[in-house]
């Protein structure tokens, strides 16, 4: 069920009431309720998806315990074998459901190109919602157990609840077992400040998703789907609308996930930290989809050697990490090129040892950025927008044609599509984001010192905006990943 649906609006209060009024005195019952509610939430899309997640849960629970029973010194190969069992099963699911047809089609095309056409049937598979997220989440468990960073749990219910935790199950944040699993070992006690913060974050997430993202989606889809009919100036707008669509859609979902978790006494990791105010690409990747980028950093980049070693190794690792990250998003060459493009953006900073600049918030303590900062933000933003064209385009050819038209004389014509109201809404939204950039989310500290009528007026304004200004309902973009 979608977060912005009536089904969820009914589901959440029911689970909330049961959680805090019926099972609140017993930890085990709390976890059982979370587990069952999560399975209901996930099965709402398609009950058949449940078999995969339950199987994955059993496998990794068993592997975790089995690894811990082996002697770290004497049974190294056995431990490694168990770890690889978990990795292969989890990535195997991902490979079959997500990438089988991609590899098959490319295989067939390659053979045809070489003059040896072959016939092969593609699979008619539905991609289970959230598979890319929960497989990585369970992998983090087995890998951390293997590395000795985490004691494997014997509590199957706690583990199942951790794997299937409904607020973050289908689109993240991808939680580390070391952070989230221990929260299932302690009975949650209701905290009013945490719950109120949670509701504020849910409200802001809904606003971003329903008002900004869904409205941007209408224009982004119209322009991208008919890009051959529009001038370069209109295509620029299309790229910008998609830029804000993907940010508000994904970060909005993360806000709702984190806010919902707070209602139940859980603390999830931050997933977005105002990435469009980044001063360079390295900073952008420290602020965008943080749970995924840190996952790849810790479980792929660092084991490969990271930025240590010679020049060739650095370049190789950088490309691997970004291309795999792109490929994680989808089985299409466009995502791979998007990843490679970001690698090209990042590499100069890494090689010049400039990738650890700009660790603090931009224009910290100031209302407006300096000229230099503004220039850097503009440059980084422009590079990001250009890369998003590949992310959104139907094919590589489409992306190049799109960019080709942007960088043509038609860039200097008046756009055929100019939704002024939406553009003003985006501008207003970015001003709010800028003002709140030093907080966890834009309105985290907004109005906290105001009198209640003013503060509630702000909340009512957001609620009314969500109800009146909503765009045509769109699915969350990251559900397709």
């Amino acid at each position: 069920m979608l977060f912005n649906s009536l089904d969820f609006a009914v589901f959440l209060p029911i689970v909330f009431v049961l959680y805090w009024f019926v099972v609140n005195k017993n930890l085990k019952l709390q976890n059982i309720l979370i587990m069952l509610a999560s399975y209901v939430f996930y099965g709402w899309w398609d009950w058949r998806f449940l078999s995969l997640i339950i199987f994955s849960t059993f496998v990794d629970y068993g592997v975790g315990l089995a690894i811990s029973r082996q002697d770290p010194e004497k049974d190294k190969s056995k431990r490694k074998l168990l770890l690889w069992t978990s990795i292969l099963i989890n990535l195997g699911f991902l490979g079959v459901f997500k990438y089988y047809n991609f590899f098959l089609d490319n295989f067939v095309e390659a053979f045809s190109f070489m003059g040896y056409p072959i016939g092969a049937s593609s699979l008619n598979i539905i991609l289970p919602v959230g598979i890319s997220f929960y497989t990585f989440q369970t992998l983090s468990y087995t890998i951390d157990v293997y590395k000795g960073k985490l004691t494997p749990t014997k509590d199957f219910v706690a583990f199942s609840a951790y794997v299937s935790f409904f607020p973050q199950l289908v689109a993240g944040p991808i939680e580390r077992a070391t952070q989230l699993l221990p929260q299932f070992y302690k009975k949650r006690v209701f905290s009013q400040p945490l719950a109120i913060d949670g509701l504020r974050q849910i409200l802001w997430g809904l606003f971003k998703k329903v008002v900004i993202a869904d409205n941007c989606a209408e224009y982004a889809n119209m322009i991208f789907n008919n890009s051959g009919d529009y001038s370069g100036s209109t295509l620029v707008l299309g790229a910008l609308f998609f830029t804000f669509q993907i940010y508000c859609d994904f970060s909005g979902y993360s806000d709702i996930a984190i806010g919902t978790s707070r209602l139940f006494g859980f603390d999830l990791m931050r997933n977005f930290a105002f990435p469009y105010f980044s001063r360079d690409i390295a900073e952008f990747w420290r602020r965008w989809h943080i749970s995924l980028s840190t996952w790849f950093r810790d479980y792929l980049y660092i084991p490969l050697g990271g930025s240590k070693g010679g020049l060739t190794k650095k370049i190789r690792n950088t490309f691997i990490i970004f291309i795999v990250s792109g490929f994680w998003h989808g089985a299409n060459w466009t995502f791979i090129i998007w990843g490679a493009l970001n690698a090209l953006y990042f590499l100069p900073l890494l090689l010049l040892k400039q990738n650890r600049n700009n660790l603090e918030t931009v224009a910290q303590g100031k209302l407006v950025p300096g000229i230099n900062e503004l220039f850097k933000i503009g440059t980084t933003f422009s590079l990001t927008v250009m890369a998003w064209v590949f992310f959104r385009a139907e094919s590589v050819t489409h992306a190049f044609a799109f960019l080709g038209e942007i960088f043509s004389l038609s860039l200097f014509t008046f756009p055929e599509v100019l939704p002024v109201k939406l553009m003003l809404m985006i501008a207003g939204f970015m001003i709010v984001e800028w003002i709140g950039r030093e907080s966890e989310f834009a309105i985290a500290d907004f109005g906290k010192n105001w009198y209640r009528p003013a503060r509630w007026g702000m909340y009512y304004g957001l609620v009314v905006s969500i109800l009146i200004l909503s765009g045509s309902k769109q699915e969350f973009i990251y559900f397709q990943f």
Binding site: L6, W20, F190, Q192, A195, I196, L199, W456, Y459, Y460, V463, V464, L467, I468, S472, K473
Partner: protein, 312 residues
């Protein structure tokens, strides 16, 4: 927890009180906002075909209240509402091949159309009378909520259209239009029995109220008509004959040759084409009024003399 729930309850309660108050206020405003045709005795109704093709200024005492994509059930509800406060002599209604398409049955359920349709017809809907079609109730209540519960709304008559046109000419869109009119999910949509039923309901309503109903199929570009699926052509001819047998004059300009430059696109006339067509149509109406045995003496149309000051 109790403090949290009290605050939440108070927050929700204030919101509920406000929205309920606004709803009651808007119910009152709706009662005051009846469609006022300002004494016009002839209405032109239907979808974008009559909307773009008939300039009401060239017809005596006429109002063009057509709206784009309007299905026949919406036209029926609209007429019922109008007739509560207005007296009409004549209803000129659009009647074309696509009006019988079952694509119309999706307009209250399809994500692309539903919200737009509901925005217009929420004050006049009779969904309970519609059998066999799905209505996206959630979107409907959301739309109604938007219009009734937030502010005093002084425009509850969004179901009344007005004539508007442009001076463009591009007929290359026929493939897209044919796909949109006659196919749904890439399959032939089939004939809508409900649309035929509501067309007859309009006829019966006009008959009860002693109103002359005229059906008009406005000019269509030959590239469009050549691609209309056969089942729709047959259904259109069948319904045309049925209506004629029931005494309803049908003016079929669909296959008539019309100057290419008068088309806005492959199935609509542009501003210039509408003026030319309306004058021609007016002459047909005058001829009909003159020649019929049961001529309605109160049907009057502006003659060229009155329009231009010159002799006919």
């Amino acid at each position: 927890m109790s403090s949290f729930l009290k605050k939440l309850g108070l927050f929700a309660g204030i919101f509920l009180l406000y929205t309920c108050t606004m709803y009651v206020i808007n119910l009152g405003l709706m009662d005051f906002q009846r469609p006022d045709l300002q004494g016009k005795r002839t209405v032109i109704v239907g979808d974008s075909h009559p909307l773009f093709a008939l300039n009401p200024k060239l017809l005596h005492s006429a109002a063009n209240i057509s709206q784009t994509s309007e299905p026949y059930y919406a036209t029926f509800w609209k007429l019922k509402e109008i007739l509560k406060e207005n007296q009409l002599d004549t209803v000129i209604m659009g009647f074309s091949y696509h009006n019988l398409s079952a694509v119309n049955d999706q307009k209250f359920n399809d994500p692309f159309w539903a919200h737009k349709m509901f925005w217009r017809i929420y004050p006049i809907e009779e969904f309970d009378q519609l059998e066999g079609i799905e209505v996206d109730r959630l979107t409907f209540y959301h739309t109604k909520f938007e219009n009734m519960c937030f502010y005093p709304n002084f425009s509850h008559t969004n179901y009344i259209g007005t004539y508007a046109n442009a001076d463009k000419n591009d007929v290359s869109d026929y493939e897209n239009i044919i796909a949109r009119h006659y196919f749904y999910n890439d399959e032939n949509a089939g004939i809508s029995d409900l649309s035929i039923q509501y067309l007859d309901s309009v006829r019966a309503l006009c008959e009860r109220r002693n109103i002359e109903l005229l059906l008009i199929c406005t000019p269509l570009h030959k590239e469009y008509t050549a691609r209309i699926p056969v089942n729709f052509v047959s259904a259109f001819e069948d319904v045309k004959q049925q209506m004629t047998r029931k005494g309803v004059p049908v003016f079929d300009y669909g296959q008539m040759a019309f100057e290419q430059s008068y088309f806005l696109n492959s199935d609509h006339l542009n501003a210039q084409g509408a003026d030319v067509f309306t004058v021609d149509f007016r002459e047909q109406l005058n001829a009909l009024a003159r020649n019929r045995q049961t001529v309605r003496q109160d049907v009057r149309f502006v003659s060229n003399e009155q329009l231009t000051g010159s002799q006919d």
